[in-house]
Assembly symmetry: C2
Homo-oligomer: 310 residues x 2
């Protein structure tokens, strides 16, 4: 029996699940109506939701959404909750929106890690959507709640410091976006084949090794080697994307891995997680857990906590 | 009286000068027929030269060119000379090309700094065009020949280690291209105004300071702050390009500056040099020399050494 309409409404995609008892997935749908693709404000969001899940909305079910739908340019802004943040408290800050179907949409707020104007001069960081994945992760793997470093690789990788069930802080690293813009728009892509072919593990490992040799500094200098290694025939064109990937992931790991040895959890796309596991092995690190997208589990957990469903 | 036709034939532009006694510029012209814009091989290059300087070519003058015209995809390949390289020896490796005008074109080779398969696993680096600017720099500022660090900022900044009149080695850092692709094609550009406005010195200095605080590591993490500093209103949109510029130049200086205090020479576009001088002042470093494009002086010097003209 359907209990909840769960939405992961990101920048480029809207994904919807009809969840039953215990959060079991009864049905799944998606559309390209991501928050950054919709112009026209609230009516456009309302229409996109109606279009994808109109037949679910008439069933008088609670609706819970996470992601960019709650940004300042989304349907309605759900203001960031500040770190250190108790994930159990996220449900206290859900933002309600009336939809034209009569159903009430609840939006999960994002998190902000803002050091303010402290003397060390740190910079603020934000997430939207990943906080819900973190709720799901800790529901599925409660042993991690006490102490964990959660790495969510992607366009904007998130590195999250979990301590005693709270999000102590986090840091975003633009590894995926750097890879994409350098491959598509910089001189580094010119020598590469148009499409990614078979993977070259050796080139990937050489990229990670170069990052380690440089102690994670001089990225702009090490990047140019992607070109010169191709120009001089040291690596074939087909291997250059993997060298670039290894270099960028190596720099990310050098910056993000903490010496305290907190258990590392990898959460994200399976192919990407394999790539990070490969790099981590070169650092002699074995993740304590590797999970796919945990947003569904997180949305269910938050809905139960907020007593939207039981 | 005309003595030499000097060409700086880069990727995106062809620049030509008619030089008289002592290398004095008698006339200057340029076209958009850069080496990477020309398809059709040698005939296309020949036609581009004829089109820009046909009336000069009939005067029976020597013709000397530097830059991408000598690359594997240029008019004819002038193979790299290996570092450590004696700049005076470049003229021994000029490559001759017959043009349909009857004049002979001489192409200056580029330089390669290739550590080979040494255990430390360094990566090769290359330059084309900058070697000629280095010849010009040392002709204009002979005191630097004994020992200098030459910084040539740009799309692909070059950092050159000059020792006893030779190029001991060099390193390319992609600062300018990173700035351009991140501004135009990444999420960081979305909050920025379309065109660069007035400069914000404070934001530039804050970017340099962030790079120093991070000791030149974690660039992909520090880059995301360009977005969050805008999102949280810490910097206005108009200041974000300068913060990004300061961050990238700060990382470049941290990677390139050597502790031995060799005199630093800045060679390049005047506006860009001012920006680097600004950043260097924050490191308490005063350049020993700041020069514009020294390619003309270098082409003249090489032509005299090769006895193409006197």
């Amino acid at each position: 029996m359907p209990r909840l309409i769960a939405l992961d409404w990101g920048s480029s995609q809207l994904r919807a699940w009809l969840l039953g008892d215990g959060g079991a997935v009864l049905a799944a749908r998606s559309s390209a109506d991501g928050a950054s693709t919709l112009s026209g404000g609230a009516p456009a969001f309302d229409a996109a939701l109606q279009s994808l899940a109109g037949d679910w909305l008439v069933q008088d079910l609670p609706v819970l959404a996470c992601g960019m739908v709650g940004s300042a340019h989304g349907w309605r802004e759900a203001r960031y909750v500040a770190c250190p943040a108790d994930l159990l408290a996220l449900q206290q800050h859900l933002v309600k929106v009336d939809t034209r179907s009569g159903a009430t949409l609840h939006i999960v707020p994002g998190l902000i890690d803002d050091p303010g104007d402290e003397p060390a001069g740190g910079t603020p960081d934000v997430m939207r959507g990943e906080e819900t994945q973190l709720v799901g992760l800790l529901a599925l793997q409660p042993a991690l709640a006490d102490r964990a470093c959660v790495l969510m690789p992607g366009t904007h990788s998130k590195w999250v410091d979990v301590q005693q069930g709270r999000i102590a802080g986090f840091r975003t690293r633009m590894t995926g976006e750097l890879y994409a813009v350098l491959r598509q728009h910089s001189v580094l892509g010119r020598l590469m084949p148009a499409a990614d072919g078979g993977e070259c593990a050796e080139a990937f490992e050489a990229g990670v090794a170069a990052a380690r040799r440089g102690l994670g500094a001089d990225l702009s200098g090490q990047l140019f080697a992607v070109r010169t290694l191709g120009l001089t025939g040291r690596w074939p064109a087909a291997a250059l994307p993997d060298y670039l990937s290894g270099l960028l992931i190596g720099h990310e790991l050098l910056a993000g891995l903490q010496p305290d040895g907190a258990p590392l959890a990898l959460v994200g796309d399976a192919g990407l997680c394999r790539r990070y596991e490969h790099a981590l092995r070169l650092f002699d690190i074995e993740p304590a857990a590797v999970l796919g997208n945990t947003a569904i589990a997180g949305l269910w957990q938050l809905a139960v906590q907020a007593q939207l469903c039981t």
